[in-house]
Symmetry: C2
Subunit: 425 residues, 2 copies
């Protein structure tokens, strides 16, 4: 059953113009008819007709008068973000987050609980469905219809089909029809991507990445991954596994074997699991009294605990964080020379643990990258933190919903069901 | 004086539609009016009007009848690539190439001569002007007007202003107004980019990169650089220096200092200059009789000579090429994990020298990249060879000329001079 009948009334032969006008108002780039004319290059009659169509569809409405520029003040237009809701999911290695956004990507409600992706797709997808249904029930009877679902998973995804492809830490998920399951349950279009890509998208639209054309988001949690923004758009790569930086070789160290089977991988030497492993060794062999004390109190020796110990003067913990940050920074220096971003955002549990780690990353990046590439390079902590992924999932859905191509399919068929590949995966 | 008055007649309020229709015919994606309707989502009346406008402007013409699909066979449309010429230049570290392309990017004429970029911008730009004037003179009186100039230079370029920015091997060129000089001389819009970016663009449109959305072009000549294609478009990076992979640290070798001042740089260990240096040492210290023989004959020991020696059984030369290829391959393995391309194209003088080098690169890439990222990864030699840069310069110009934005500026002002930043840099 189509949830967006409003759109079916839009004139098909105005498609490119309608998308353009809608995008300009949605993004806030042009909110009056004269501004729309200037920014779009379309004539007055055409702008007027597009605005009428979009108001009738319920996507735009008349708002306050804008500032006058001489003559009569032009009426402002407003994108009706409240016309629909989007269901969003962020599946981490050890957690499930769900939420609701409006059509502007603003988070309306959200929930988070522990959950292991290694429980397999059937168990995990069932729990995701229960959590989403819970959110829908709480919304009340007057809530707007759901227009789409967006979900991020902790592994590579073939974006076109919405299926994970050979995800290393998601046993049983290879090729699993994530899109199809959610589309069958909610009867709306579904998009699936890697969770770190969605964090990068969240920061691009609502965080420090706003207006930044080229940046890299690095998540340092148990594992290490990156999301790439190229010229204001996600770079997903040929198999959807761009940003898989955890298994880049950073040291010729044969002693520690990574979960991927190789040695010398960044993740096995500098990720959260590596920090916890080395911290526990330092607690046990008597090198760090701070960490030994934590262990005796039953506190787990994780990145947060090591950061606490470093802040309270434990030299071993300072060394551990420095070493980890330097390895991440060396890898990033290579990427800076290759990709030339103007911003590197660091997110994930290890990054949230303290300043020592970020300082070590910065030092390594600036020491080894080319001067031109670092001239305007900023290295900062992710401001959206653990909301970045859910926000990104919402933006992914609205971007696709209001794209030229999909809007066209809707107008042609009156329903998202007219695009079987979107609901069936 | 505007050279493209034809465009000034196009209706301004049909801008988005005109660009769309022109792009579909130019790219060959849709060449009949019914196809244009299906691909563009525009109505029949609108398509008819756009086609009339574009035929009147001289950009399209009626061609043969297409295959019938039941009713009357539809008339095909043809993009009039011969309506204009584009001047193209590729400035290498030690050579100057110039050429003429038509509006489809096909190379009509070209010349190449030795020339050192270290002679400085005044001398080099004067010589480029003389070579281009020579090509224009040879065209004859009935030649079409020149619509634009495209030039590639061997260093980072701020694409927006058309100026080199801190180019390491171009002394005197930092901030030099390359665009302005050429625009003043030819009175048409000018675009400037890094030469390796243009090689990647050339391969994207006319080489093995056709239809490939994500690939990396690596030029291995005296130095080493890369051009990145993300989702079918050039990724230039924040300062235009994306792909500057020659100075990525690949070994902890403090003995050889790179021209950038750092140690362990890929270029200083594996580029053409490094091969020549190590080859000469092997010839002098008696390790390689093959190379010593070449030296005694007065043949320079460059990558080509080392490849010849390797093919004729010189174990030292085989080792040199293997070592160089392995270092390049290790760097590429990192980039494969980060960028996830489906194609790596190897170009430049060293790559052209023989198979030994390419084989070593391949082996290293496949050994160290993640299995998913290499599942459909192809590593091949650039098919366009030393034409890739000139072809790319032509495509850069036609892409920009027929972009929504510039076409709009022309229609508004009747002349490219209406965009001062394009002709003045």
């Amino acid at each position: 059953m189509p949830r967006n009948d409003a759109l079916a009334g839009l004139a098909r032969d105005r498609l490119a113009d309608l998308t353009l006008v809608l995008d300009l108002v949605r993004s806030g780039e042009a909110v009056t008819r004269p501004e729309l004319g200037r920014r779009s290059g379309l004539g007055r009659t055409l702008i007027t007709q597009c605005v009428i169509d979009l108001i009738e569809s319920g996507l735009l409405e008349e708002a306050d008068f804008g500032p006058s520029t001489g003559g009569r003040a032009p009426r402002q237009l407003r994108f009706r973000a409240e016309a629909g809701h989007v269901l969003v999911v962020e599946l981490g290695a050890t957690s499930i987050s769900v939420g609701l956004t409006d059509l502007s990507g603003a988070l309306v409600a959200h929930r988070e609980e522990p959950g292991s992706v290694t429980d397999g797709p059937e168990t995990t997808m069932r729990r995701i469905g229960e959590l989403l249904d819970g959110l829908l029930t709480e919304r009340g009877a007057s809530a707007p219809p759901v227009w789409g679902v967006g979900i991020g998973v902790p592994g590579p995804v073939e974006f076109r089909t919405g299926r994970p492809t050979a995800p290393p830490i998601m046993p049983g998920w290879d090729g699993f029809p994530v899109r199809q399951r959610l589309a069958e349950r909610y009867d709306v279009p579904v998009w699936v991507d890697n969770e770190v890509n969605l964090m990068a998208l969240g920061e691009l639209r609502a965080g420090l990445g706003r207006g930044v054309r080229d940046f890299v988001f690095v998540k340092i949690g148990t594992g290490i991954g990156a999301g790439l923004i190229s010229a204001g758009r996600l770079h997903r790569g040929a198999q959807g596994c761009a940003g898989d930086v955890g298994h880049i070789a950073v040291l010729d160290d044969k002693a520690i074997v990574c979960r991927c089977g190789n040695t010398g991988c960044l993740e096995a030497l500098a990720g959260g699991a590596a920090l916890a492993r080395d911290g526990l060794i330092a607690a046990t062999d008597g090198r760090s009294r701070f960490l030994a004390q934590l262990v005796s109190e039953g506190t787990p020796v994780d990145a947060r605990a090591i950061a606490w110990a470093a802040e309270h003067g434990d030299p071993v913990s300072v060394d551990l964080l420095n070493r980890s940050g330097r390895l991440v920074g060396d890898m990033l220096a290579t990427l800076v020379n290759f990709f030339n971003p103007s911003l590197i955002l660091i997110g994930g549990g290890v990054a949230a643990s303290g300043d020592q780690f970020l300082a070590a990353i910065r030092q390594a990046v600036y020491a080894r990258s080319l001067p031109l590439a670092t001239r305007e390079l900023r290295v900062a902590r992710s401001p959206l933190g653990d909301r970045a992924g859910l926000r990104g999932a919402g933006f992914m859905v609205t971007d696709e919903l209001f794209s030229h191509e999909l809007l066209g399919a809707w107008l042609g068929n009156g329903s998202p069901a007219g695009r079987p590949e979107l609901v069936a995966g």
